[in-house]
């Protein structure tokens, strides 16, 4: 499980972009608002993998993140 921020792009916009690539992630505070305030974050995008995921899913994730960075920054 990896939580990350894409600099200059809000986590919800990252998640929505990834959704259009068929990648489902969670974004936002993750019910941890005090922690987000502590680190002055507006949220994170959280990725986790399951037994049914394969390399094509990871590739789609990376392509989607690059696309979000390219179009929304």
């Amino acid at each position: 499980m990896v939580s990350f921020q894409l600099e200059g792009v809000h986590p919800h916009d990252v998640a929505q972009t990834l959704d259009s690539f068929g990648v489902a992630v969670r974004a936002g505070h993750h019910c941890a608002q005090p922690l987000m305030d502590r680190f002055d974050l507006d949220g994170t995008t959280r990725v986790s993998i399951a037994p049914y995921n394969d390399n094509t899913d990871i590739d789609a994730l990376l392509i989607g993140v690059k696309h979000a960075a390219k179009t929304l920054r």
Binding site: V9, H10, F21, M36, A68, T71, L72
Partner: protein, 135 residues
């Protein structure tokens, strides 16, 4: 795959970050949080002697729609979009229409085309913060 998540104009508005920052000595200011999505908007306004908005600045910690909505005030040359007085600040109550301009006006937007929460909330948050600042 969606080639473009948002219209180019919306992305451009958000990237412009027009009016982003703080005022050195605001007359009034307010902060609004959207607990549903975590967006946060802080508005500073400076009023002139007649109670009209002379300067406005905003700090937005939110999604692209929220940033674009706040950036619109200073970016627009339209008097209708630039709040001139506290009394002129209102928030839209009808559903926002996300359809292309050529298809609007013929009929009410379907639920699929109407911008609803949380996107709608993101669009309105800067206006709600401004109303708080001016109240």
């Amino acid at each position: 795959m969606s080639e473009q998540l948002y219209q180019e104009r919306i992305v451009a508005l958000a990237k412009a970050k027009t009016g982003a920052g703080k005022l050195a000595s605001p007359t009034k200011s307010a902060r609004r949080d959207n607990p549903l999505c975590g967006d946060r908007v802080t508005i500073d306004v400076k009023l002139d002697g007649q109670g009209r908005i002379a300067e406005i600045a905003q700090q937005v910690r939110g999604c692209l729609l929220c940033q674009a909505s706040a950036s619109r005030w200073r970016g627009s040359r339209s008097a209708a979009m630039r709040p001139a007085s506290p009394r002129s600040v209102t928030t839209p109550s009808a559903p926002l229409d996300a359809r292309p301009a050529s298809r609007r006006g013929r009929s009410p937007p379907s639920p699929r085309c109407a911008i609803t929460s949380p996107a709608r909330s993101a669009c309105l948050l800067p206006f709600e913060a401004l109303k708080d600042a001016l109240s």
